[in-house]
């Protein structure tokens, strides 16, 4: 789950990182202007999208806030407007902690060339510091970062504190990413987090009951699939595939693409195959409602039963009264029982994957 900037800044402040004085509009931060008026959206690159404005006083903030609240970023409505004191910037740094899949450990990313996209920072200017999660980010790591970032004197001590705070937020909130860009050095020598991008690990949500899940944007096919406990991907093509597992789903998509097919949707049944046929039936019905030109059901089971999936398909066909061509390829336990369920519906059971792919491509073209 992504946090809005103001939520991320609250998290950082809770971990001792200095953030600008700010308030959600129509509230105003203490102190005189000028102010920065910032649209709260989850999309990035707000500056370039015109979603961050300057305003000298409260009246101007109000005008900018009204305009921002009517805007969208890639279709995402502006959730709120956050008003902050404008910082007097001397330098802009970049500091982030993320879960590094390759190193299998937390990784601090930092550069003295903050403010811009970190991907555009030349490799030699980018500091990568892996952190042992069993040790945490120790003061020596903060001193190393300060020295590499050219922060001496009082700033070195501040940077060590900020690094510990950002890491603390990352570890305690169980984040995938905590990114501060820019981390501003003000003209009066303070280190202030001018932005905050935080992505939390959804798999850890059970340990953070205070965290309220944000209702997923939209109620489309993919969200309805998620509610049924499967992964659904909606695309622009015509053929739909329902597959037992993510790897096999991608491989099936590749086979169909090689045959000239384009996908309307792909479903990874995952653990749902061990659940009841009623849920499988719902999944198949969701797919049929997308009106694909043809559907391929492809499962290779080790432990789950083919019969369960066959019953789900049969139930969905009856419930939707669908004429959509369906090709069913099943391997594994319970094939005879699955055949007994499907053949009365005129659905022969296929065993060979390539044959099944060829057939669904042909049926999808109306052959």
């Amino acid at each position: 789950m992504r946090l809005y900037e103001h939520e991320g800044k609250t998290l950082l402040a809770d971990h001792g990182v200095a953030v600008p004085r700010g308030a959600l509009w129509p509230g105003m931060p203490d102190g005189p202007g000028p102010f920065v008026v910032k649209a709260q959206v989850l999309a990035g690159k707000r500056g370039r999208r015109g979603l961050i404005k300057s305003a000298p006083d409260r009246a101007a903030c109000g005008r900018e806030a009204d305009a921002l609240l009517a805007m969208r970023a890639d279709g995402e409505p502006v959730a709120a407007v956050y008003v902050e004191e404008r910082l007097d910037v001397a330098r802009e740094l970049y500091l982030a902690v993320l879960a590094d899949r390759q190193r299998r450990a937390p990784l601090v990313l930092a550069t003295a060339r903050g403010g811009m996209d970190v991907e555009e920072v030349p490799d030699e200017d980018l500091i990568r510091l892996p952190v042992d999660p069993l040790l945490g980010l120790r003061p020596f790591a903060g001193r190393y970062l300060a020295s590499r970032l050219g922060c001496g004197g009082d700033l070195a001590g501040q940077l060590t504190g900020v690094a510990a705070g950002v890491y603390g937020a990352f570890a305690e909130a169980e984040a995938e990413l905590v990114e501060v860009n820019p981390l501003v050095v003000t003209r009066d020598g303070r280190l202030v987090a001018a932005d905050a991008k935080v992505v939390l690990d959804d798999n850890a949500a059970f340990r953070h009951p205070e965290r309220t899940a944000r209702p997923d944007a939209g109620a489309g096919f993919e969200q309805r699939c998620a509610a049924l406990g499967v992964v659904g991907v909606e695309m622009e093509g015509s053929i739909a595939i329902i597959v037992s597992g993510a790897g096999l789903m991608m491989a099936t998509a590749d086979l169909l693409a090689a045959g000239g097919g384009r996908l309307r949707a792909a479903i990874d049944l995952g653990g749902a195959v061990f659940q009841d046929p009623a849920r499988l039936e719902q999944v198949v019905r969701e797919v049929l409602r997308l009106r694909p030109s043809a559907v391929l059901v492809n499962a290779f089971f080790q432990l789950a039963s083919c019969e369960l999936l066959a019953r789900g398909v049969a139930g969905a066909l009856r419930a939707e009264d669908s004429k959509t061509p369906i090709v069913v390829r099943l391997r594994g336990r319970g094939m005879a029982e699955a055949r007994a369920v499907l053949e009365p519906l005129g659905l022969p059971l296929r065993e060979d994957l390539e044959d099944a792919c060829r057939e669904v491509l042909a049926r999808g073209r109306g052959a």
């Binding site: 390759q102 299998r104 991907v233 597959v243 080790q302 432990l303």
Partner: protein, 287 residues
């Protein structure tokens, strides 16, 4: 012989008293995997499928010489179960549980590295040396003992590849499933050298996917190997930005696209199958 798991191992199941643990134990017994017992905190003294249940892993190590564990407990308990297995000195640990919190997995990885335990997963289908020991959810009936090593990100796709091998009369030395969670403990590059050193393996199949950069590290290792490697990268047809089932399978930056990985493999002398159905024939041709 194979790698990671064999007839000489003494296997335990953590979470043996749960539904998944019990059926896995029964299956292991039926197909002669050397399982000696299981662990579930608070259930010590019970028996499951005739096997003794202990409160702690260290007790099974002390009393029955356990060397490998299959962990199937809820995500909230997975970190402690896995750290316990590592601390008790087990050699190979499969984390079958999926959707393990990211920070738990990173702690598991750090601990396993320090202790020299090889952890597969989270969300790993496990590893199996056919005919010797099965520390996975793969059906023994679908496996054939043989000399092809398989290391794969995905469980279900592995079944398909094994099926293709069987049809060509090619058995498997060891099948290793790395796991579908976004951050996993063991990567292709860790497993490939084990296969290269294994006297019972003649060729290796690597089944990767879009997302992440583990295949690029694997290509660098494959370049140094003496045995032929055949690779397949699933999801080359996936549109950018779409998460394709596995939490890790999403193309966000250039390095993670299938084309980059395929090119890296080709440059390293790895034969690349365009489609999963081409994997087994390519292996046969490389022997």
């Amino acid at each position: 012989m194979g790698i990671l798991i064999g007839a000489h191992d003494r296997v335990i199941i953590q979470g043996i008293t749960g539904g998944s643990g019990r059926t896995t134990a029964e299956r292991m017994l039926e197909h002669r995997t050397p399982i000696v017992g299981g662990a579930t905190p608070g259930k010590g003294g019970q028996r499951v499928a005739g096997l003794p249940v202990f409160d702690s892993v260290r007790q099974i190590v002390d009393e029955l010489g356990a060397t490998a564990s299959f962990i199937t407990v809820p995500p909230a308990f997975t970190r402690d179960a896995c750290l316990e297995a590592i601390d008790a000195g087990l050699r190979t640990v499969v984390v079958y549980t999926e959707r393990v919190p990211l920070h738990d997995t990173m702690q598991i990885c750090a601990c396993a590295r320090g202790r020299g335990t090889l952890v597969l997963g989270p969300n790993s289908a496990g590893c199996v040396t056919p005919g010797a020991a099965n520390l996975s959810d793969l059906n023994d009936a679908n496996l054939r003992p043989g000399r092809i090593g398989i290391v794969s990100k995905s469980g279900t796709l592995t079944y398909e590849v094994i099926d293709g091998l069987n049809r060509l009369g090619l058995g498997q030395s060891t099948v290793v499933c790395l796991g579908g969670d976004p951050l996993i403990a063991t990567h292709f590059a860790d497993v490939l050298p084990l296969f290269d050193a294994d006297a019972e393996t003649d060729a290796v199949i690597l089944i990767g996917e879009i997302g992440g950069t583990a295949e690029l590290a694997a290509a660098a290792v494959a370049r140094q190997m003496t045995k032929p490697v055949v690779a397949y990268v699933a999801g080359r047809s996936a549109p950018a930005g779409k998460r394709m089932g596995h939490a890790g399978a999403i193309i966000e930056r250039g390095q993670e696209a299938a084309a980059v990985k395929i090119e890296a493999f080709r440059e390293a002398g790895v034969r690349v199958a365009d489609l999963v159905t081409e994997v087994a024939p390519l292996v046969a041709a490389s022997l």
